[in-house]
C-alpha cells in the first residue's frame, strides 16, 4: 500500500513539476536529484502511508456506524478517498520541498507538519464519514442545537429526542431529491420496489399517528395488507405507542390473518408475538363488533363497495394457543358436551337448522362460557355430535320449556302445583328455531368448565381475565345489586356515583365519583373515568344518565368500553310520564287514566295520585282524594301529572330485551311491602296476563336492554302498567335469586353483541325479605371487618 501510494506521488510530482529529478520508487526508496548534483535518498516507511487511517475509519464505520447501512458505506468511501488524497498531497509537498530546499525541509514537513496534516486529514475524513452517516434534516429528530424537529404525533412521541416547547414543532416540507428521481425514473421498477420494501421495513411511518382512530384502523390494515415484512417498523410502532384499543385490536386481527407470511426478520417475529399476546388477553379482539371504530369503519368500507378484510376466526387468531392447548380444549368441550347431554331440559333444533360455523365467527366461545351464557349451540365446536336425538316427551317439563321458547317459570324446582300450569300458559314469542332451549343452566356447564378446563388452562396461562365492568348509580339498590352480582361472577367492578358516600362505591374493586346526570359535565367526567380504568363494558343503572351515555357511546367504544343502550327516544318515552301515558293510550294498552292539567281531576276518576312528570322513585308523589286538592297542587307550577290511583296488587317485572328486540327475561314479582318506593318484601310469580302486558308495553316503547315495569293487577283481574324504568330495578336481587341471571346475560349481550342468547327461566314463589346491611370503612377508606359476619 505504501509503495503504491509512493508511486502515485512520484508520478504526480514528475507530471506537475515537469521534472525527471524525482525517481520512481525503487524498493523502499525515492531518489531526489537536487541541483548541483546533490542526491537525496528518501526512505518510504509506514508513516508515509494512509493505510492506518483508512483501517481506523473502516473499523469505526463497521463497528459503530454500520446501522446506517448504505449511508455509512458511502461515508467511508468518501472519507477514505479524501484521507488518501490528503496523504498524497502531504507526500507530494514533502518531495517538492526536499527537491527545492533539501533534506531538512523534507523531514520537517513530512514528520512534523505532516503529522499534524495527517491528523487533520484523518479527523476531517472522520467528520465527513459521520456527516454522511447522520440523517438528513428531513429525517432527523433534532437539529444541531437539540431542538426537536421531527414531525411526529404526540401520541407516539418518546421522550428525549429533542427539546420541544409547545407549538414549537417544525413542519417539514417534502422535497424532490436526485435520489428520488433515480428511484422513480431510472431504476427498473422491480428493483426500486424491492429496495423500497427494504427501506420501509426499518422506517417508522409517523404519519399514521396523526389520524383519528377509524383512519388508523384503515391505515393499519392497509400497511399489513402490503405484507408484515414491508412496514414492520411502523406496525411495531403502532403496537408500542398506540393507545386506542380499536386500533390495536385491528392490528392484532390483521396480523393474525397473515400468519402464512414467512418470518423473515426478528421484527416480524416480534409483531407476531405481540398479536398473540394481545389476542390472548382479549379473546375476539379485532373481530367485527369488537370496537366501534373498527366496526363503523368496516361498515363505511362496505358502503363504499370496498372489499372488507376477511373475517378472522378464533382458530386463525390464536392458532398457536390451539396447537399448544389442544388436549385441554378438547377436554373442555367434552366436559361441556357431557353436561349438556346429561341435562334433562335439552331440546335441540334439527341438525339442518343449526347455523353453519362460519355464520357465528364473531362470537367468542370462551367468553360465552365465562359469562354463564346460554348460546347458540353452533358456537360450541362439536356440539352437533352431542345433541340428543328425538323430541322431549310430550307433557314433560322439557316439553313445557320448549313450547315457551325457554322463557318462563322453570318446572323443575317450582314446588307449587299450579306453577306448571302457569308456565305452560305464558304467552311469549314463538320459539326461535335457531336457538336451542336452555337445556341446562349454564351454571352446570360452568361447573365442569371451572373445575376442569379453567384450572388446566390457567396452569398454561391461557385463561383471559374476567373483563372489568363499570357500573353507574352505585348508590342505588339497582346499582348495588348489579355490583354484587358482577363481583360474585368474578368481574372487577368500577363503581361510579354522584354521591361520594354511596354504599356501592365501597363494594366495588374500584370507584369514582362523577357529577349528577343533569350536570353538563357528566359525560366528560364519565369518559375520564373510563379512560382511566378502561372497563370492557358499562352498565347504567340510572335512567337519567342514559341519554348522556348514549351521546358518548362512540367515544366509550374507542376506549374499549362496550355498551348496549336503548335508543334515546325509547328512554325519553319512559322518563316523560305524560308521553308514556299518551303512547299507551294510543296503543289501547292498559294504563291508568292520566292528565296534565289542573282540571284533569274532573275527567279522571279518583282517587288520584299526583307526581312529577319526570320523577325518580317515589319522590314528589302525592296521594290525593279530592278534585280540589288535585287542582291546587296541579296549579303549583311544577310540571306534574295526575292519574287515577290504582288499587289491587302492585307488581314489578324485571325485563331483559336482547339487542335485536327478543325478550330474554320477564320476571314478575309482587311488591308485598315497599319502603320509600323500594320493594323490601316480595315474591316472584308467574302470570300469563302480566307477562303479556309487560312485554307488549316494552315492545311498544321499543326498549332494549334491562327495564323494570311497574303495574297493578286489579281486584278485577285487569293488568295495568303504571310506568317503565329503562334500567335494572331495585328489587333485582329477587330476580337473580329466582334464577334469572339478567345481569350476566345483559353483560354478555354487551360484550358479544352478535351472540344469540336463549331466554332465561326463573322460579316462581321465591320470597325476598330485605334487611339493612352495612359496609364499614375507616378514616382512610380501608375496609373494617363486619363484627356480625359468620366466618367459616
Amino acid at each position: 500500500m505504501q509503495a503504491f501510494e509512493a508511486h502515485v506521488v512520484t508520478a504526480a510530482v514528475r507530471t506537475a513539476l515537469s521534472t525527471s529529478r524525482v525517481s520512481a520508487v525503487t524498493a523502499p526508496r525515492i531518489l531526489i536529484f537536487r541541483p548541483h548534483g546533490r542526491l537525496l535518498s528518501a526512505t518510504v516507511t509506514a508513516s508515509c502511508s494512509s493505510l492506518l487511517s483508512l483501517l481506523g475509519l473502516a473499523a469505526l464505520s463497521f463497528a459503530v456506524l454500520r446501522r446506517r447501512g448504505g449511508h455509512a458505506l458511502l461515508g467511508f468511501v468518501v472519507a477514505g478517498f479524501l484521507v488518501a488524497l490528503a496523504n498524497e498531497a502531504r507526500m507530494a509537498a514533502s518531495l517538492a520541498l526536499g527537491l527545492e530546499y533539501g533534506k531538512f525541509w523534507l523531514v520537517a514537513f513530512h514528520d512534523w507538519a505532516g503529522t499534524l496534516w495527517n491528523f487533520a486529514a484523518t479527523l476531517g475524513g472522520f467528520l465527513v464519514m459521520v456527516y454522511l452517516s447522520l440523517p438528513s434534516a428531513e429525517r432527523a429528530e433534532q437539529n444541531a442545537t437539540g431542538r426537536h424537529t421531527a414531525h411526529r404525533p404526540s401520541s407516539w412521541a418518546r421522550p428525549g429526542l429533542g427539546y420541544q416547547a409547545d407549538g414549537e414543532e417544525e413542519q417539514k416540507q417534502a422535497r424532490r431529491t436526485l435520489a428520488g428521481l433515480f428511484y422513480r425514473r431510472i431504476l427498473p421498477k422491480p428493483i426500486a420496489r424491492r429496495m423500497a420494501r427494504h427501506r420501509e421495513a426499518g422506517r417508522i411511518d409517523y404519519r399514521v399517528g396523526y389520524m383519528d382512530p377509524a383512519q388508523r384502523v384503515d391505515a393499519v390494515r392497509a400497511l399489513v395488507a402490503d405484507g408484515l415484512a414491508v412496514h414492520t417498523a411502523s406496525l411495531l410502532a403502532v403496537a408500542s405507542y398506540d393507545e386506542d384499543p380499536g386500533v390495536l385490536d385491528a392490528l392484532a386481527a390483521a396480523v393474525a390473518s397473515r400468519q402464512w407470511e414467512p418470518v423473515v426478520t426478528e421484527k416480524v417475529a416480534a409483531i407476531r408475538l405481540w398479536a398473540r399476546a394481545r389476542l390472548q388477553c382479549r379473546p375476539g379482539a379485532g373481530q367485527p363488533g369488537s370496537s366501534s371504530a373498527a366496526a363503523s369503519h368496516g361498515a363505511a368500507r362496505e358502503e363504499a363497495g370496498e372489499a372488507a378484510p376477511a373475517p378472522v376466526t378464533l382458530e386463525a387468531v390464536s392458532i398457536d394457543v390451539i396447537q399448544e392447548e389442544a388436549p385441554e380444549l378438547g377436554s373442555l368441550l367434552a366436559g361441556a358436551e357431557t353436561s349438556a347431554t346429561s341435562s334433562p331440559q335439552v331440546t335441540a333444533p334439527p341438525a339442518e337448522d343449526v347455523p353453519a360455523r362460519h355464520e357465528v365467527v364473531a362470537e367468542a366461545p370462551v367468553l360465552a362460557e365465562l359469562y354463564d351464557l346460554p348460546m347458540t349451540r353452533a358456537e360450541v365446536p362439536g356440539h352437533r355430535a352431542s345433541r340428543p336425538t328425538g323430541d322431549p316427551e310430550p307433557g314433560s317439563a322439557d316439553d313445557a320449556v320448549a313450547r315457551t321458547g325457554g322463557m318462563g317459570a322453570s318446572t323443575s324446582t317450582a314446588g307449587t302445583p299450579d306453577v306448571s300450569v302457569l308456565t305452560a300458559e305464558v304467552p311469549v314469542s314463538p320459539p326461535d328455531e335457531s336457538i336451542d332451549a336452555p337445556e341446562a343452566r349454564l351454571r352446570d356447564i360452568l361447573g365442569t368448565f371451572d373445575e376442569v378446563a379453567i384450572a388446566r388452562m390457567a396452569e398454561h396461562g391461557t385463561v383471559a381475565p374476567m373483563p372489568n365492568v363499570l357500573v353507574t348509580g352505585a348508590g342505588g339498590p339497582a346499582g348495588i345489586a348489579v355490583i354484587r352480582r358482577l363481583s360474585a361472577l368474578g368481574h372487577p367492578v368500577i363503581a361510579v356515583d354522584a354521591d361520594p358516600g354511596a354504599t356501592g362505591l365501597r363494594l366495588a374493586a374500584r370507584h369514582a365519583v362523577v357529577p349528577l346526570a343533569e350536570d353538563p359535565s357528566f359525560p366528560a367526567a364519565l369518559l375520564a373515568v373510563v379512560a382511566q380504568h378502561r372497563p370492557a363494558a358499562l352498565i347504567c343503572t340510572v335512567a337519567e344518565e342514559l341519554p348522556g351515555i348514549t351521546d358518548i357511546a362512540e367515544q366509550l367504544a374507542v376506549l374499549g368500553c362496550a355498551t348496549s343502550l336503548p335508543s334515546k327516544e325509547a328512554v325519553e318515552r319512559c322518563l316523560d310520564k305524560a308521553r308514556f301515558a299518551s303512547l299507551l293510550a294510543g296503543r289501547r294498552m292498559p294504563h291508568p287514566p292520566t292528565g296534565m292539567f289542573a282540571d284533569a281531576a274532573t275527567s279522571i276518576p279518583g282517587p288520584w295520585i299526583v307526581k312529577p312528570r319526570r320523577g325518580r322513585g317515589s319522590r314528589g308523589v302525592l296521594a290525593l282524594d279530592t278534585a280540589e286538592e288535585v287542582a291546587a297542587v296541579m296549579r303549583s307550577g311544577a310540571d306534574l301529572i295526575v292519574q287515577t290511583r290504582l288499587t289491587g296488587h302492585e307488581f314489578t317485572a324485571d325485563v331483559l330485551i336482547s339487542n335485536d328486540g327478543r325478550p330474554l327475561a320477564c320476571v314478575p314479582r309482587w311488591r308485598s311491602e315497599t319502603k320509600d318506593g323500594i320493594s323490601v318484601k316480595g315474591v316472584t310469580f308467574a302470570s300469563a296476563p302480566v307477562t303479556d302486558a309487560v312485554l307488549r308495553t316494552v315492545a311498544a316503547l321499543e326498549l332494549t336492554g334491562p327495564s323494570c315495569v311497574q303495574g297493578f293487577v286489579g281486584f278485577d283481574g285487569d293488568v295495568r302498567i303504571v310506568e317503565v324504568n329503562p334500567r335494572f330495578s331495585g328489587g333485582l336481587p329477587l330476580t337473580l335469586a329466582a334464577g334469572a341471571d339478567v345481569v350476566a346475560t345483559y353483560l354478555a349481550e354487551i360484550l358479544v353483541p352478535s351472540v344469540r342468547v336463549a331466554p332465561l327461566t326463573f322460579r316462581p314463589g321465591v320470597h325476598m325479605a330485605r334487611y339493612l346491611a352495612e359496609v364499614y370503612t375507616d378514616a382512610h377508606g380501608s375496609e373494617v371487618g363486619d363484627p356480625c359476619l359468620v366466618r367459616p
Binding site: 469505526l60 454522511l132 452517516s133 440523517p135 432527523a140 437539529n143 442545537t145 416547547a165 414549537e168
Partner: protein, 510 residues
C-alpha cells in the same frame, strides 16, 4: 491516602465542611521517583517508559470508549423505542427534591414542570429548598406554594452549610413518608413521565439509585452550549448507557435521578463534605452492596453553561470532586466483596476519568520534548497517540449523534471538542494540583441564564380589544389580563404577547 478522607456522618445534614487534606508528600514522592529514575536510567529511557505507560493507559481507555460506542450503537436505539411495561403499575411515595440558590431566572419554569409531572398527586410531594437565596427565588416559591398544595418550600438560613447536599438532606425531612427521593436541579425541566420511569426500577430491592438522562435544552444559545449538547448526547446515550450495558455500573448523576430513601438513611444522607455528592453517593451505594440503574428514557432537559467562564467553573468542580472521590474511595472499592474483578476494573477506570486529561497533558508534553530530542520513543506504542486520545471519544460522540437522530450538520460541531479538550487538560490539571496541594474549595453552584424558558400555554384569554392571548393555566403570574402588549402582572413578571399562541413567552422584569 490510607483511608477515605470523606466519611459521611450519620447526621450528614449537619456534617462539618470538608477537612481539606494535603497530599504534598505524594507529589514530592512522584517528583523524587522521576528524578531518581532519570538519574539512574537516563532521561530518554525514563521518559520512554513514562510515555509507554501512558500509552498503555490510553489504550485501555480507548478500548473502553470503543466498547461503549459499539454497545450503544447496537442497542440504544431499541431501548429508546421499547414499549413500556406497566409504567403506572408501581407508584411508591415520592419526594421530589430541588435545591435552589439564587435561581429566580429558572425557578418558575422548574416549578411548572414539577407540578406537571405525571404521578399520583397523593403519592408525590414536591419540596423545593430555598438555600438562602439573595434574589427573588424565595418570594417566587412562596407565591407558588400558596396556590399549590403539593409544593412545600423550605427556606434555609444563610450559613446553614452543606451546599447542595445539606439542602437536600434538610428538604427530605419535609417528606417523612417518602420511599423514593427524586432529585432535580433548578434549571431542569423534567419530562412528565420522568418520575414513573425512574421509580419503576425500584421494584428490584437491590437497586439503591436510578439515573435518568439529561438533555441540553439551550444548545441554540451559543456554540459552546451546542457543543455541550453533543457532549451530553454522547455522555448519556453512549457512555452512561455503555457502563450499564457492559458492566451494570452506571453512575448516579445528581439530577434527574432517584434514590431509595432507606438506602439514603443507611448511608447517612448526601455527603455535605463532597462537591460532587452524586459520584460520592454512587460509590457509597456500590460499597453498600446495592446497585445504580440507568433509564435512558427517563428524560429531563437542563441548561448548559453557555459561556467559557461558567463552563470552566462547572468542569473544575466536577474534576475536583471526582478526583476527591478517587482519593477517598479507591481502596475500599478495590477491596469490596460486592464487585467482581471486571467491575472493580471498570470502577477504577471510572474513578480515574478525571485524571486522564492530566495524563494527556503529560503525554503531549513528552511529545513536544521529543521534538527537541528530549526523551526516547515510548516502549509501548501500538497506535499513534492522536488516535488513542481522540478516536475513542470521537466514536462515542458520533454514536451519540447517531442515536439521537441529530441532523447531519451537527457533525461539524465535533470540531468544537478540540479546544474543549485542551481546556479540559488545563482545567483538570489545575484541579488535580489544587486537590493535591489542599487548596480550599467549597461547593459552587453554576449560574443560569434562563434564556430558554418557554411558557407551556394551555389557557387562552380574550383581551379587551377582542384579540386573544394565552397563558399557563394555574400560573400565578397569569392572574389578570389587561391589554395587548405587556401586561399580565404578578410577582414582578410579565407575559408579553408577541403575536400568536406559539410565540407567547415569559419575560422577567426584575
Amino acid at each position: 491516602m490510607s483511608s477515605p478522607e470523606i466519611l459521611p456522618t450519620a447526621d450528614a445534614g449537619h456534617a462539618p465542611p470538608e477537612r481539606i487534606k494535603r497530599h504534598l508528600g505524594w507529589l514530592l514522592l512522584y517528583a523524587a521517583v522521576l528524578a531518581g529514575a532519570i538519574h539512574a536510567f537516563g532521561a530518554n529511557r525514563t521518559l520512554g517508559v513514562v510515555g509507554g505507560l501512558l500509552n498503555a493507559i490510553f489504550l485501555v481507555y480507548f478500548i473502553r470508549h470503543l466498547g461503549f460506542a459499539i454497545a450503544a450503537a447496537r442497542w440504544t436505539s431499541a431501548d429508546l423505542h421499547a414499549a413500556d411495561v406497566d409504567l403506572p403499575g408501581y407508584a411508591p411515595n415520592v419526594a421530589v427534591l430541588v435545591a435552589c440558590k439564587n435561581e429566580e431566572l429558572v425557578v418558575d419554569n422548574l416549578v411548572r414542570s414539577l407540578l406537571a409531572l405525571d404521578y399520583p398527586s397523593d403519592r408525590m410531594t414536591v419540596v423545593v429548598v430555598d438555600d438562602a437565596s439573595e434574589d427573588t427565588t424565595g418570594a417566587r416559591l412562596d407565591a407558588w406554594s400558596r396556590t399549590e398544595e403539593r409544593l412545600r418550600v423550605l427556606h434555609r438560613n444563610p450559613g446553614a452549610g452543606g451546599g447542595k447536599s445539606g439542602a437536600l438532606n434538610d428538604g427530605l425531612r419535609l417528606a417523612p413518608d417518602a420511599e423514593v427521593a427524586v432529585i432535580f436541579d433548578a434549571d431542569h425541566e423534567p419530562h412528565p413521565s420522568a418520575i414513573r420511569r425512574l421509580v419503576r426500577h425500584f421494584r428490584d430491592e437491590g437497586v439503591g439509585a436510578v439515573m435518568g438522562r439529561c438533555i441540553i435544552r439551550n444548545g441554540a444559545e451559543s456554540s459552546l452550549a451546542a457543543t455541550v449538547f453533543v457532549d451530553f448526547l454522547s455522555g448519556y446515550l453512549v457512555n452512561e448507557y455503555g457502563r450499564q450495558a457492559l458492566f451494570e455500573l452506571p453512575a448516579y448523576g445528581g439530577a434527574n435521578c432517584a434514590v431509595r430513601v432507606s438506602t439514603l438513611a443507611m448511608l447517612g444522607g448526601w455527603n455535605p463534605a463532597s462537591v460532587t455528592e452524586d459520584t460520592d453517593l454512587t460509590l457509597r451505594i456500590l460499597l453498600a452492596g446495592q446497585r445504580v440503574r440507568y433509564d435512558v428514557t427517563a428524560v429531563d432537559y437542563e441548561e448548559a453553561a453557555g459561556d467559557t467562564r461558567r463552563f470552566r467553573r462547572q468542569r473544575y468542580r466536577w474534576a475536583r470532586g471526582h478526583q476527591q472521590c478517587f482519593r477517598a474511595y479507591w481502596r475500599p472499592l478495590m477491596a469490596s466483596p460486592h464487585l467482581n474483578v471486571f467491575e472493580k476494573l471498570e470502577t477504577l477506570l471510572f474513578l480515574l476519568v478525571y485524571h486522564v486529561p492530566v495524563f494527556c497533558g503529560i503525554g503531549v508534553l513528552l511529545t513536544v520534548l521529543r521534538a527537541f530530542h528530549i526523551g526516547g520513543l515510548p516502549f509501548f506504542d501500538v497506535l499513534p497517540l492522536s488516535m488513542l486520545l481522540f478516536i475513542g471519544p470521537l466514536a462515542e460522540l458520533a454514536v451519540g449523534l447517531l442515536q439521537g437522530r441529530v441532523q447531519r450538520r451537527a457533525a461539524w460541531s465535533l470540531l468544537g471538542f478540540l479546544p474543549s479538550f485542551a481546556l479540559s487538560i488545563v482545567n483538570t490539571t489545575h484541579a488535580y494540583l489544587d486537590g493535591m496541594l489542599g487548596r480550599p474549595y467549597s461547593w459552587v453552584k453554576t449560574a443560569r441564564t434562563g434564556a430558554i424558558s418557554t411558557v407551556r400555554s394551555d389557557e387562552e384569554f380574550v383581551l379587551e380589544d377582542g384579540s386573544r392571548t394565552v397563558a399557563r393555566h394555574a400560573d400565578p403570574i397569569a392572574e389578570t389580563v389587561r391589554a395587548e402588549g405587556i401586561e399580565i402582572r404578578a410577582g414582578g413578571v410579565a407575559v408579553r404577547r408577541v403575536g400568536n399562541r406559539a410565540e407567547a413567552e415569559v419575560t422577567t422584569t426584575t
